[in-house]
């Protein structure tokens, strides 16, 4: 019997706690497979965020650190500076990365820290129950903007790839969407390229993954995937924003 597919060895056997239809699980799987493919096993430290992915330290089968809310890029900087030959990655949500941790992500990128950041943009605060995120779309409902995000009151969504790609330190900045198999495959390619930039000590690498949070969006899983594919992509275009 030939094995055609198996779970990546870079994932533990702990069952994911994510809701049905949540794409955090897909993102974990992709990162784990890439870590395995680039031969990082036994030479990698991951940094988990505060957000729904806080338990990522239970899922990635490698040394892990759990950062305080938003500070994963600073924690990753500390690790990478004392272990320059170790693969170091941070995994962060949009509240974590684009709100409370905006300074840390921008400065880690500007310094050109040779780390890889996986950014899960689900346009909502998942863990705390659906409050508005910095990436929430105009008109999108959240528990702190119940009639939909109104730029007059709630400000405007932030496009992180566009922002990060203006800096000198990053050498790879890309955005993919976890909405169908073709796009998931593209996402994996981008994640792999990002880690290769780190392995080659090129510079800071960043992959944004448009993700679904059916629970806090109040949608079925199908509706949520459609929302990623149509609504989110119209504000957050896919592609490679910087590659050097």
């Amino acid at each position: 019997m030939t094995v055609v597919y198996k779970k990546s060895g870079m994932l533990t056997d702990a069952p994911f706690h994510y809701c049905p239809g949540c794409t955090h699980g897909i993102a974990h799987k992709l990162v784990a497979e890439v870590l395995e493919e680039i031969g990082a096993e036994g030479n990698v430290v991951g940094v988990a965020p505060v957000g729904c992915a806080v338990f990522a330290y239970n899922y990635f089968n490698c040394d892990m650190q759990e950062a305080s809310h938003g500070r994963a890029p600073a924690v990753a900087t500390g690790i990478k500076r004392v272990r320059p030959d170790t693969v170091v990655f941070a995994y962060q949500g949009d509240g974590d990365l684009a709100s409370i941790g905006m300074a840390e992500i921008v400065h880690a990128a500007a310094r050109g820290e040779k780390i890889t950041v996986i950014f899960i943009n689900n346009a909502i605060y998942g863990m705390t129950g659906g409050q508005m995120a910095p990436t929430t779309l105009e008109g999108q409902k959240a528990t702190t903007c119940i009639y939909g995000r109104n730029p007059e009151i709630n400000g405007n969504p932030i496009r992180m790839c566009e922002l990060i790609s203006t800096l000198t330190g990053p050498t790879y900045v890309a955005r993919a969407a976890l909405c169908d198999p073709a796009n998931v495959r593209k996402a994996k390619k981008m994640i792999k390229t990002a880690f290769e930039h780190q392995l080659n000590k090129k510079g800071f690498s960043f992959v944004e993954l448009l993700s679904a949070c059916p629970t806090n969006w109040g949608m079925t899983t199908e509706q949520a995937v459609d929302y990623v594919k149509n609504d989110m992509q119209s504000i957050y275009p896919l592609g490679v924003f910087k590659e050097e």
């Binding site: 430290v45 330290y57 089968n61 040394d63 950062a67 500070r71 921008v106």
Partner: protein, 352 residues
């Protein structure tokens, strides 16, 4: 061979010799000479230095580096230390050894840039959220700064509790002759079983974490931390007693203030007044045994607690002496520093 060094630079060099190989900090007066010195010095010994974007980032870089097994430190002054508090709380819960230097300046708010001791509560009682402590030293000279800094990583790693060196603007800026110790041999240090070096695989993998979501697990962890603090109190408490055996009045002070108080003791003694000085060197754990012992001496009539604050350490003095003798307070604030004569005047006039 002794050499003349500024307090901040002496601490920085002692850190390097004591094994510090990573520094993360953000500029603030009056401690800038520490990051300035380490910004070039650490690269000479194969270490690393990052000027962080903020104190928040700096303490989290320390978290990452210490978690990855390195001897990492940061330094700052009062407002910056306030910003580090969330990170310190995480470091304490995750049991990461590291060193934090606070060259205290007057507050609250932006306050001033002159010496103060008004961060005593913040340093010794926890400072951030949750039940925890650091090991806190209050050195009184550049030499004592060097000696404490030199061994700080060893102590911190022994207990997996961060060390804070609580200085003041004066200690950082003053120049004094110091004897610098030899470099520690880092190759002799054991591998840290709990650290995320990145090479642990499968069931050996390590997790640096402060999320303990099960109440019983968190309760056990709280107890573990406090059992460690008890052990530290038993082994590491330090206190200096000066002319207390026949004293009627016992002055108590830490840091540079203790030196001023010592001069006041000498002046008062020369006038025939029986005064002594009790100087805590560890502020946490507080030297409770030394205080109750002196408080129980029949000759002792009262304590005078002297601080550059509105009265913070005095609370520990009252608790430790179990109020067996009255405890008076004399303090200056705002960056003002008392002279020995001010203390003499306070002691003699108060006693009329």
């Amino acid at each position: 061979m002794k050499q003349l060094m500024k307090g901040n630079e002496a601490i920085a060099e002692a850190a390097v010799r004591g094994g510090c190989r990573a520094f993360f900090g953000y500029p603030i007066t009056p401690q800038n000479e520490i990051p300035e010195y380490l910004s070039w010095r650490l690269y000479e010994v194969g270490g690393c230095f990052v000027q962080a974007e903020s104190e928040v980032a700096a303490i989290n870089m320390v978290y990452g580096a210490a978690g990855a097994g390195a001897r990492a430190m940061t330094s700052s002054s009062s407002p910056g230390i306030s910003l580090k508090q969330e990170g310190i709380s995480y470091i304490c819960c995750s049991r990461l050894p590291c060193v934090i230097v606070n060259m205290v300046r007057g507050g609250p708010g932006l306050g001033g840039i002159q010496p103060a001791q008004s961060d005593y509560f913040q340093a010794t009682k926890g400072g951030g959220h949750g039940d925890y402590h650091m090991i806190v030293y209050g050195p009184n000279s550049v030499q004592e700064c060097v000696d404490i800094m030199y061994d700080a990583f060893d102590v911190s790693e022994k207990y997996r509790v961060p060390v804070m060196i609580l200085g003041d603007g004066m200690l950082g800026q003053i120049m004094e002759p110091v004897e610098l110790p030899e470099f520690k041999d880092l190759s002799k240090l054991p591998r840290k079983a709990w650290a995320t070096y990145g090479d642990n695989k499968g069931k050996d993998r390590q997790i640096i974490n402060s999320l303990l979501i099960e109440p019983d697990v968190l309760e056990r962890h709280n107890h573990l931390l406090f059992d460690t603090y008890k052990e530290i109190a038993d082994n590491e408490t330090m206190c200096e007693e000066y002319l207390c055996s026949d004293a009627e009045i016992v002055l108590t002070a830490y840091g540079t203030v203790a030196r001023i108080a010592k001069s006041a003791v000498d002046i008062l003694r020369s006038r025939g007044i029986k005064v002594g000085l009790l100087r805590p060197i560890t502020l946490y754990p507080f030297p409770e045994k030394a205080f109750i012992k002196v408080a129980e001496q029949d000759c002792v009539k009262e304590f005078v607690c002297i601080e550059l604050s509105m009265g913070q350490m005095i609370e520990d003095v009252k608790i430790s002496t179990q109020m067996k003798k009255p405890v008076k307070f004399y303090g200056r604030v705002g960056g003002n520093v008392m002279t020995p004569e001010d203390i003499v005047k306070f002691v003699t006039e108060e006693d009329k």
